[in-house]
């Protein structure tokens, strides 16, 4: 062990580090794409040019830009749409990375550990290269002792009494929550459920959230609870329901109070029917997804199999589409029968199967979602917006299944897929 040995050792370490593999290089985040058909989140723009500077869209015009910039080559039948927003997920592990595979560039986490919230906030303020979807999140739930959510183990700090409503909200906001998610089940519902906070507590928590200028959204799973949540002042319902068709009165009231809904149809379909993944999604997917995960999607399901529940689910999709309500698209991944990314496309395919227009469906998963979750700079292809975009071909009018195999995905202007 002389000096030379030490020097050789240090040199060998440096050489080995040099030989270790590096990520594939990516282009920078300034470019122009066009002429290309654009669905900007609200309307179709034929043969436009979209210019991106350092991750932000700076120009959307029908004429090519005069300045010389890197041009992304396109074909006549290609389309770009805004990066998709999944309005109901629970993220951990590589969830946000997997979401990107299917063009989901933003996720709304409706119950997760608060440790992720601050990192997500820093990340979404940056236009650096990232291999994950952006996240806005609710952090811990507001729920009853032993209520829904407490079974997952990471201490949701249940709401013990009426007086703790304000502190529950403040505590969550201090932890970095972007909005407050409350779990509520009305006392008189037909099927048994875990303990719930009372209607008075629901009102107080919603009021406390509004006092702090944040959205209060409610987890419900039945019509009566939905009525209560809307009456109590909720900004949104983060599940639909299948116990009965949605009543005209509830629709009217939600329209009047501008309450949005995230029906999470796919997870309910898995629960009451369990065939959509097997019969529609997987055949369309082919080898678009990790085979083991695909098997998870097709396994099990129909734990509450019922023709009437299934019919109610389809009826509610139709009634919501016919209404003036803001209906957002959310997968509730990774609950049984769902996976991150792909299940948002499944949700869009479900809407398509129920005859919802493709522009309405994609609007719900882009511009409308950004607007209702109060997210700035996402959900549209317009000047000043973050360059989160998905390239598909041919036209999305051909079917939502095209989103299962996006030809390119840009996050912060970087082509990440």
């Amino acid at each position: 062990m002389n000096k030379l040995t030490w020097i050789i050792g240090a040199g060998a370490v440096a050489a080995l580090l040099w030989l270790l593999p590096e990520p594939a290089p990516v282009e920078d985040n300034s470019f122009t794409i066009g002429p290309i058909n654009v669905f900007d989140g609200e309307k179709v723009l034929r043969a436009h040019y979209v210019s991106v500077e350092e991750g932000v869209i700076v120009r959307v015009e029908s004429q090519p830009p005069k300045a010389v910039q890197r041009v992304y080559p396109t074909k006549p039948d290609q389309w770009i749409i805004p990066g998709l927003i999944d309005s109901h997920v629970h993220t951990w592990g590589d969830a946000r990375e997997r979401a990107l595979d299917f063009g989901v560039t933003t996720v709304i986490d409706l119950f997760g550990h608060p440790s992720e919230l601050r990192r997500a906030r820093q990340q979404r303020n940056s236009v650096q290269l990232q291999q994950e979807a952006d996240m806005w999140g609710a952090g811990r739930l507001v729920t009853a002792p032993d209520g829904h959510g407490t079974q997952f183990g990471f201490s949701p700090h249940p709401l013990a009494d009426d007086d703790s409503a304000e502190s529950a909200v403040s505590e969550r906001l201090a932890e970095g929550s972007d909005f407050i998610k409350i779990v509520y089940t009305a006392e008189d519902v037909d099927y048994p459920h875990r303990p719930s906070i009372s209607y008075q507590q629901l009102q107080r928590v919603i009021q406390a959230a509004h006092d702090q200028q944040v959205l209060a959204v409610v987890h419900v799973a039945d019509h009566l609870s939905a009525e209560h949540a809307v009456t109590a002042g909720a900004d949104g319902l983060v599940h639909g329901f299948f116990d009965q068709p949605i009543s005209e009165q509830l629709i009217d009231k939600m329209e009047q109070l501008q309450v949005f809904i995230v029906p999470t149809n796919i997870i309910y379909e898995h629960l009451v029917h369990g065939e959509f993944n097997k019969q529609v999604l997987l055949p369309a997917c082919g080898d678009c997804f990790n085979q083991q995960k695909l098997n998870n999607l097709s396994r099990g399901g129909a734990n509450m199999a019922s023709t009437s529940f299934y019919n109610n689910l389809k009826t509610n999709t139709r009634l919501l589409d016919e209404s003036e309500l803001d209906v957002l698209v959310g997968s509730d991944a990774p609950n049984p029968g769902t996976e991150h990314g792909i299940s948002l496309i499944a949700e869009l395919m479900w809407l398509e199967a129920q005859a919802v227009n493709w522009q309405v469906a994609i609007h719900s998963a882009t511009a409308l979602a950004a607007e209702r979750w109060r997210i700035k700079g996402r959900g549209r292809i317009a000047v000043g917006q973050r360059a989160d975009m998905v390239l598909i071909g041919p036209s999305p009018a051909q079917g939502m299944h095209l989103l299962l195999d996006p030809q390119a995905v840009w996050k912060n202007g970087y082509q990440v897929r």
């Binding site: 062990m1 580090l17 040099w18 270790l20 593999p21 990520p23 990375e97």
Partner: protein, 246 residues
């Protein structure tokens, strides 16, 4: 200076003659990473994060065991007293152990890097590989300081057991084996007080997955921890110079 190098060389020679020291030190992190970072589906797509976790776990071992066990042994058997009576500088004795612990830790890092790149497809930029190596090599210092403290306080036969009693729970409570969010809140509060938590957060920051605390706070904590350990050791300096304490 040559005395310091000779001491380091002698110490390294002694270590290389002790496969019972270096084989477990190399094998544990490599095998654990293979199971939890590569084979287990939960980690799918998270291999870079777990590489950092197990790298931190791996580099804690050599300074802990080498400093604690060898100091306890040499102190208990009177070798340390003999050395202190000789013209040898005491600092060269410590320096040798620090350098060799860091060298063993660097080997563990390289083994983990190769494993993660080859079997788990981890891809990092050259500056990230380099910075991780620098952080985790220098990051052996707080554990070496703690190891020295253990070595100064316990008998040689007890040293390995005491190290295990500290090393393994420290790794667990810092979230090196399982994510902290899967554990109760009180565990997270404990984690904030552990050097391994702060060191691994520095590693996570290199791959863009650190916590919300700025990196320099973690460095400040690690420096303060090491300095306080050294201060305690200084007050116990009499224990290095005799077997009579046992």
């Amino acid at each position: 200076m040559s005395q310091w190098i000779v001491e380091a060389q002698m110490d390294m020679r002694a270590l290389l003659r002790s496969p019972s020291f270096y084989i477990p030190a190399f094998a544990f992190p490599v095998v654990f990473y293979f199971f939890f970072g590569i084979m287990v589906d939960f980690s799918n797509g998270h291999s870079d994060y777990l590489l950092i976790s197990y790298a931190c776990f791996g580099i804690m071992g050599p300074p802990f065991f080498h400093l604690a066990v060898s100091i306890a042994s040499e102190r208990t058997h009177g070798w340390l007293t003999l050395k202190l009576l000789s013209p040898m500088q005491f600092n060269s004795f410590i320096f040798a152990k620090l350098v060799n612990s860091a060298a063993f830790s660097a080997v563990i890092l390289l083994l983990l890097y190769i494993e993660s790149a080859w079997l788990a497809g981890v891809r990092l930029w050259f500056w990230q590989w380099g910075l991780l190596t620098l952080i985790f090599t220098l990051g052996t210092l707080p554990f070496a300081a703690l190891g020295m403290l253990i070595g100064a306080l316990v008998a040689d036969r007890a040293a390995a057991g005491v190290v295990n009693l500290i090393y393994l729970p420290m790794a667990l409570l810092s979230g090196l084996w399982f994510p902290l969010f899967l554990m109760p809140d009180w565990v997270q509060w404990i984690a904030y007080g552990l050097p391994s938590y702060h060191l691994v957060q520095l590693g996570y920051a290199v791959i863009g997955k650190g916590d919300e605390v700025s990196w320099y706070w973690h460095i400040i904590y690690l420096c303060l921890f090491s300095i306080s350990m050294m201060a305690v050791l200084r007050s116990l300096s009499g224990r290095f110079s005799g077997a009579s304490h046992e």
